[in-house]
């Protein structure tokens, strides 16, 4: 309970800190719109040459795009800033500050940074999902809604676990500046349904990088393609990933030798 309260307090401070910089809000909206416009132009191009891509119509693919934008917002607002600060702290020997506090260290290193304005993408993505949903006819039962929500949460947790594993790598490899670029590149594969990729790549972005679970599965829920077995498997996979990433984080932590304090 204390853990949860401390986490929420940290997030609130982060939000208040970012609220001071209002111009950034306008700039971020502009950038978010530009990114969305580019995505839509690409779709326009693709569907000017074909009517469906590997069985996905334009409206269905719009749902995929929406989920990808939402997830990008979550990553850029909370996951990536915290994980990059973690790698920087390891490099500078400043992680002691987090480790010596009387709360769970993994929780603490995961909530110290918030980039509030990046969360605009969550709104943008939700709007895109909404449009896709209406264009698809909007036939959405209780099960679908529930499944969609669950799939989104599972996806976010999976992406967090993946980032934690990557960032934990900094206990061995000191230079980690490339992580955002590497992740961003791979994350862009999520704009398209995983079905279009060749087998080896599809395997990679399902199990090595959990993009299929994080994006395609929620999008399947919106487009009524989701079967409950897939969702159950995603849940199981999330539990495994969470346990593994926590173990890996503790394993890496043993290698940490602080330079400050």
């Amino acid at each position: 309970m204390t853990t949860l309260r401390v986490a929420l307090l940290h997030l609130r401070i982060g939000v208040m800190n970012d609220l001071q910089y209002r111009v950034n809000f306008a700039l971020q909206i502009l950038q978010s719109m530009l990114a969305l416009a580019t995505g839509l132009v690409v779709f326009g191009l693709v569907y000017s040459h074909t009517t469906e891509l590997n069985g996905w119509t334009q409206s269905e693919l719009l749902a995929v795009l929406g989920v990808q934008i939402v997830m990008a917002g979550v990553i850029h607002a909370v996951i990536q800033p915290n994980m990059m600060r973690l790698t920087q702290d390891v490099q500078d020997g400043k992680l002691d500050h987090a480790l010596t506090k009387p709360v769970d260290a993994q929780m603490l290193v995961s909530v110290r940074e918030v980039q509030l304005w990046q969360a605009i993408d969550i709104v943008t993505g939700a709007a895109v999902i909404g449009v896709a949903f209406v264009r698809l006819g909007g036939d959405f039962g209780l099960f679908d809604t529930l499944a969609f929500a669950v799939a989104l949460v599972l996806g976010a947790v999976l992406l967090y676990c993946f980032w934690l594993v990557l960032a934990t790598g900094s206990f061995w490899v000191v230079q980690m500046w490339f992580l955002p670029e590497l992740f961003e590149g791979i994350f862009q594969t999520g704009r398209w349904p995983v079905g279009i990729y060749p087998d080896w790549l599809r395997f990679g972005i399902t199990f090595l990088v959990p993009i299929a679970f994080a994006i395609t599965v929620p999008a399947e829920a919106v487009t009524s393609r989701l079967e409950w077995q897939t969702l159950a498997f995603a849940a199981l996979f999330t539990v495994v990933a969470f346990v593994f990433s926590r173990w890996f984080w503790r394993f890496g932590l043993r290698r940490y030798s602080g330079a400050s304090a």
């Binding site: 950038q31 580019t38 074909t50 490339f178 398209w192």
Partner: protein, 282 residues
């Protein structure tokens, strides 16, 4: 480097020689630095390769669905386009407006202004030196992509020669465009939004997203008026396309034109921008 004093031809040759000397040294230093952090650089490159692979998969899927070709391009031709794309993209890595932003905001520029050479020389030489290790890193990536995607290559020696020159032309065009954009930070302190707009335009009108022939007619016309097509589409087409010798040479001439335009705009903006520079400390 504000006012160039009147110099005799002999002194000018000396100046050029020392500038060449500087370039060689700066390039070598950067090359060694890049070799040092191999693993990190490779990871960065792998992240970059995702972009063309995604485009390639999407357009190959469409080509297969529509009976083998889209806009006159077959799956094999798409593969060739995007594999060469990766090399051109590597060449097109330049000092970004974000770099200028940081340099100006943090006051790092102060120290750089004290040196006898214009800071842009350090950028051009440094990033050029970084290309050599990066090109070596590109070879295995290209090999894997070739094995996986089975490209159709039909290359003449002239095309290889023009391509070799054109990738450096692309490098210079992009360097001066982005540096000029970076100078905006002297007024605004932040450049992110403007840079995003630049990237969107480049993405759509350079051939970075798709070969330009896939774009609608009006967009292709628009692309002719802007420098972007000479940084991606032209170098790639020079190698994988079927341009005549005349078109190849005309392309190089256009690159030269845009390099001069870029240098012109950069110098002009620099003259006004530098007056606004203030830094505290350092």
């Amino acid at each position: 480097m504000t006012v160039v004093p009147e110099t005799s031809p002999l002194r000018r040759v000396g100046r050029l020689r020392s500038l060449a000397d500087f370039y060689m040294t700066a390039m070598r230093t950067q090359m060694q630095a890049q070799f040092q952090y191999r693993a990190a650089t490779y990871m960065y490159l792998l992240g970059m390769v995702a972009e063309p692979v995604i485009y390639l998969v999407v357009w190959t899927t469409i080509a297969d669905q529509s009976g083998g070709a889209v806009g006159g391009l077959t799956a094999g031709e798409f593969a060739a386009y995007y594999i060469v794309w990766t090399l051109v993209r590597t060449m097109n890595i330049v000092f970004t407006p974000y770099g200028w932003e940081e340099r100006i905001r943090e006051g790092e520029l102060t120290g750089q202004l004290l040196r006898p050479l214009h800071p842009i020389h350090y950028d051009v030489a440094g990033f050029a030196g970084g290309k050599i290790p990066w090109l070596l890193y590109y070879i295995p990536i290209a090999a894997v992509l070739t094995l996986v995607f089975d490209p159709t290559f039909d290359v003449r020696p002239t095309e290889v020669a023009v391509f070799t020159v054109a990738i450096w032309g692309a490098y210079l065009i992009r360097t001066f465009n982005q540096s000029a954009l970076g100078l905006v930070t002297f007024w605004t302190t932040r450049v992110g939004a403007l840079f995003s707009l630049y990237i969107v335009l480049e993405l759509l009108l350079s051939g970075r997203l798709v070969p330009l022939t896939i774009m609608p007619e009006w967009a292709q016309t628009l692309a002719w008026l802007l420098p972007f097509r000479w940084t991606f589409y032209f170098p790639i087409e020079a190698l994988v396309g079927d341009l005549s010798n005349q078109e190849l040479l005309a392309g190089l001439a256009m690159q030269l034109f845009w390099i001069f335009v870029g240098i012109g705009i950069f110098s002009l903006v620099w003259r006004y921008a530098i007056r606004r520079y203030t830094a505290v400390g350092n």
